[in-house]
């Protein structure tokens, strides 16, 4: 082919590649520059605050650990949606045709999305931790700060990062907002029901069901080696493997 290839007539020597950090900033911006994205962000903050206010009024044991656990519910529900929309809007709204011509290295764009998802997840976690601390300071029962430490905070961070990236992976698999959101809620629940109903699955259930395996992460308890291994296998099954499959497909597929 080289004999017939046209000579270079476009001087690209003075242009550098788009830096990864810029792609991450653009992805962060995309997540809040539409009404849907903005309201999702506001909802995450508002619902976290609301749940913690209810906690302050209603809970018996107003400790920081319990407050963090309460905030994990709205965050666990909404962070995956945030991850999903980061990916699927490129297909549902067809902006991928612009995104992937401005930066044709699709893998780089997808990693920028993963990075943005992790950063947004961290921001949500910080909000939860701060509001939980305020609530505890205001109305904490005696011994409210018992069990608070680096381990609790790091495990909570890990849990929500798994949540947001797990959502992104569903987006990557379905490339369609509605389908990905429904599947990300329904599939783990359906999976959990099936594995708990069928007797022969009882033994493997804690190894494959993310709800069961990741539960200990949210109350700051000391995880045993086996519990960590369970977290790892569920992350492999629900995050890593589908991410590799989704990425492989997006890199090869046609963008229309």
């Amino acid at each position: 082919m080289s004999a017939t290839t046209a000579p270079t007539t476009l001087d690209i020597s003075g242009t550098s590649r788009v830096p990864f950090s810029r792609l991450v900033r653009v992805e962060l911006r995309k997540s809040v520059d539409t009404r849907a994205g903005l309201w999702l962000g506001i909802s995450i903050v508002a619902l976290t605050a609301l749940v913690l206010v209810i906690f302050l009024i209603n809970a018996d044991q107003k400790t920081y650990v319990n407050a963090i656990q309460a905030s994990a519910i709205p965050q666990g529900l909404l962070l995956p949606v945030l991850g999903i929309l980061l990916v699927t809007s490129e297909w549902s709204q067809r902006t991928g045709m612009v995104t992937f011509t401005v930066e044709p290295h699709r893998g780089k764009v997808l990693w920028a999305k993963v990075t943005a998802a992790v950063l947004l997840g961290l921001a949500a976690v910080v909000v939860a931790m701060v509001v939980a601390a305020l609530v505890t300071a205001v109305g904490g029962t005696p011994d409210a700060w018992h069990g608070v430490g680096v381990r609790l905070l790091l495990q909570y961070v890990l849990l929500q990062v798994i949540n947001v990236v797990g959502g992104l992976v569903f987006g990557l698999l379905f490339l369609n907002s509605a389908a990905a959101i429904v599947a990300s809620f329904a599939l783990p629940i359906a999976f959990s029901i099936v594995t708990s109903l069928i007797h022969s699955f009882h033994k493997i259930q804690p190894w494959v069901d993310p709800g069961t395996a990741q539960m200990p992460l949210q109350n700051g308890q000391h995880l045993t080696g086996e519990e960590w291994a369970r977290v790892l296998t569920t992350v492999l099954i629900w995050v890593v493997v589908p991410f590799v499959v989704g990425m492989w497909r997006v890199l090869r597929a046609e963008v229309k």
């Binding site: 082919m1 017939t4 290839t5 046209a6 000579p7 270079t8 007539t9 476009l10 001087d11 690209i12 242009t15 550098s16 590649r17 788009v18 810029r22 792609l23 900033r25 653009v26 911006r29 995309k30 520059d33 539409t34 009404r35 849907a36 809007s89 709204q93 067809r94 902006t95 991928g96 045709m97 612009v98 995104t99 992937f100 011509t101 401005v102 930066e103 044709p104 290295h105 090869r252 046609e254 963008v255 229309k256």
Partner: protein
């Protein structure tokens, strides 16, 4: 100096047994507006997606300035692309869509304002969400997006579609200016008259294959003769006697490949009265294009095969 900027060599794309782009080779030169003309579904958009790497080809190669698109660093600074004006997030404002592109390619927000002004989207329009844009406004926004990185090459799929006559005139001005400054423009269209207004060079594609290419003047060049007689049968007989091949052009007139003077001479010898005798205008390209379009259109019309019963009913 003209250089070959966009080069396609034996590009082929198959979807199952259907070949959307079939061994397509052509060149678009700098300093010129090249029109890529073909009926809907002829393979224009697929070819353009292959050029920018959105669609992988099954064979052949498309290069821009000698590079594969994916090898060009920060490609939007060199190649402006508009593939589908409607492929924008409906919930973003026009300005925000441009700002995202500008931030990615590393040009400042003032460039966004310049481009909005260039394409004639005013402050209120730029603040509106894209779902409220007309197709014409989306096309203008798409042009602004393509030109944001100050590229030297433009690849535009159906950019005139949805524009009013004033918009087409404006687009023609922008693209001709771009080419006059040494830029390369490749634009597609399914309308011959649209593209012949704007393009210097034409590439005609039908059913995935290139069927004609050349300068606009070459392709639209006067070819043969258009002749109409008082008595068409007598004229036909006269031309046959003179050994001139002529075909009916549908309105009682005839078309021939030979020059008007020869047709006139043959008619005079036979004493046939002519009511019209003139060079045929762009007949070659227009007829070929109509043929291409008609072939596809006919398939669409014929497929629902009900007419038999309907006709009988109508006659009775």
């Amino acid at each position: 100096m003209m250089t070959r900027v966009i080069t396609l060599e034996h590009v082929t794309k198959r979807y199952g047994s259907f070949t959307a782009v079939d061994d397509v080779s052509f060149v678009a030169q700098s300093g010129k507006v090249t029109g890529f003309l073909g009926p809907n579904g002829a393979g224009k958009s697929t070819s353009m997606r292959i050029m920018v790497g959105l669609t992988p080809a099954n064979g052949g190669e498309a290069r821009i300035g000698g590079h594969l698109y994916s090898q060009i660093p920060n490609p939007a600074r060199h190649v402006g692309v508009l593939l589908d004006a409607s492929a924008q997030h409906a919930g973003r404002t026009g300005r925000e869509a441009l700002r995202l592109s500008a931030q990615t390619m590393g040009v400042g927000p003032e460039r966004v304002e310049e481009m909005l002004a260039l394409v004639g989207l005013n402050g209120t329009e730029a603040k509106r969400r894209i779902r409220n844009y007309s197709l014409g406004m989306r096309q203008r926004l798409g042009i602004a997006n393509a030109m944001l990185g100050d590229p030297s090459v433009l690849i535009l799929d159906e950019p005139v579609n949805g524009l009013d006559p004033a918009g087409i005139h404006w687009m023609r001005g922008v693209l001709r200016q771009f080419a006059a400054n040494g830029g390369t423009v490749l634009l597609s269209s399914h309308l011959l008259h649209e593209v012949e207004m704007i393009a210097d060079e034409l590439i005609v594609i039908g059913r995935g294959k290139i069927v004609a290419q050349g300068t606009r003047d070459e392709l639209l060049q006067t070819a043969g003769t258009y002749v109409k007689a008082e008595d068409p049968a007598a004229l036909n007989a006269a031309l046959q006697r003179a050994g001139i091949v002529a075909i009916p052009s549908g309105d009682g007139a005839l078309r021939s490949e030979v020059d008007p003077v020869e047709v006139g001479r043959a008619a005079a010898q036979a004493g046939v009265v002519l009511v019209e005798l003139r060079p045929a205008e762009g007949a070659g390209l227009e007829e070929m294009f109509l043929q291409l379009t008609a072939d596809d259109a006919r398939e669409d019309v014929v497929t629902p095969a009900a007419p038999q019963g309907v006709q009988t009913g109508a006659q009775a």
